[in-house]
Amino acid sequence: MISDNIDVLVIGSGPAGMAAAIQAKESGSDHVFLVERAEELGGLLSQCIHNGFGLIYFNEDMTGPEYGQRFVEKVMDSKIEVLLETMVLRLTADRKVTLCNRNGVKTLSPKSIVLAMGCRERTRESIVIPGYRPAGIFTAGTAQRWVNIEGYLPGKEIVILGSGDVGMIMARRLTLEGARVKAVVEILPYIGGLIRNEVQCLYDFKIPVLLEHTVINVLGIQRVQGVTVARVDQNRNPISGTEKSIDCDTLLLSVGLIPENELSFMAGVNLGPITGGPLVNERMETNRPGIFAAGNCVHVNDLVDNVTLEGEKAGQNAAEHASGKAAPKMGIRLEAGENVRYVIPQMITGEREVTIRLRVKEPEKGVILKVGDIMTKTLKVVKPSEMLNLILSETHLNRMKKGTTQLVVSCQKKG
């Protein structure tokens, strides 16, 4: 039953979306809609059958489906209007949402929107791996759906390009299912994901890891028959003479996640060039009033627990916006400085305590994180794959000189 008196409409029912919808309800919104394009709630959680979720939020070591189930239950108990297999076709700057499902196409005007579309995977085509276009090239996440939800293996002899967590998780998964993972190929000199996965996914199964290598060719015309790998130099260019072929029938790609922001783009939401996602303030609000965003569509997160927290923030503020509560002014812009790839949020009030999150560009040992000259924190080690949280308390913020409009967040090597 679609009503036209919607307080908050959430697009995407992964961990960010579910958290936003639940929190919006708990913050007092009467009518909350949760729109999902797939056949069930949970987003990618249903296919992430491995554990490691919920360590922070629930203090338990849960699998993706278990983590998701907690929120699905809350959604079902909260009288949130759930629309499955429903695609959002259009979004306008003034919050008109056009939905499409088997019941038809309809345009709604909710008071607030939370964008929680997640991200998509970088493809073979966009990184221009030479070769023909054989069957057997999959992104790791799509392969994960095939193996864990649909019940099919992409192949029997696999090479994985990219050592991010998704790639390593799939290396283990496919090995356990009886396939042979012949190599994980990584262009950088270090593994892209968590150490825990390096040990429990690659080392445990003696899967060969080729660091500072990349795939320079796919063999096979109609179906993958193999790949050619080569060592790369400091500029990540293949070194002639180091080429070697690996026979395989499948190439899995774990070469990056891209926040999915077609709707944000349509609505004229400002997107950050580094994150690829909406620029947000500490309320998780974008430049369009009443349009909030959370989760992987804002920036590619590391832990689902943090995605949930972001979603809750967005949901709460979306509810407040829907109820007409005035929004505080955002006076301070946060900029990424030395060795910081990006900071979330990009705008804060500067007047109340706020948690900021950041990702470094390069791994480093013995560092000082600095926020302007109002706060420092020393850390033994930082890695791009693990996001860092900094709490700016009111005490910190009070140190700002009058007239400050910008704080630079940097990560410097200690003395």
Partner: protein, 123 residues
């Protein structure tokens, strides 16, 4: 006395210390070196002695619009037993309705761990 050195990568925190565990020929612990915290030391010894893991996988579902149900061990089991468990579970089929936490196999292969579902499957 012969010292057999074994390197264990610690996964407790991002420092990822490479902790060395030295044992004699009878397997008695001689020395643990290169750790930065108590938890790391304990992890390295336990990991050397008997690496334990959580197994997460799927089981085929019949009479359902779903093909699979995700499952896990509810305790850590010996790493050595992972493949045997996978073989065992490959031969099992379950049917809906299933709730989160339903026991599919009790004490699988005498590991002390059950295999439980991690997802609800009503149809």
């Amino acid at each position: 006395m012969v010292k057999n050195l074994n390197e264990i990568t610690c996964i407790i925190c991002p420092l990822a210390c490479c902790i060395s565990v030295a044992v004699d020929d009878e397997g008695r612990l001689i020395e643990v070196a290169n750790f930065q915290c108590k938890e790391g030391k304990e992890y390295a010894v336990a990991e050397y002695r008997a690496p334990m893991r959580v197994l997460t996988t799927t089981v085929i579902v019949g009479k359902s619009r779903h093909a699979l149900v995700p499952v896990r061990t509810n305790r850590v089991i010996l790493r050595e037993k992972l493949f045997d468990c996978m073989q065992h579970l490959a031969r099992i089929k379950v049917e809906p309705p299933l709730m989160v936490g339903d026991v599919i196999v009790r004490n699988i292969l005498n590991t002390g761990s059950d295999i439980i579902t991690t997802s609800e499957l009503l149809d």
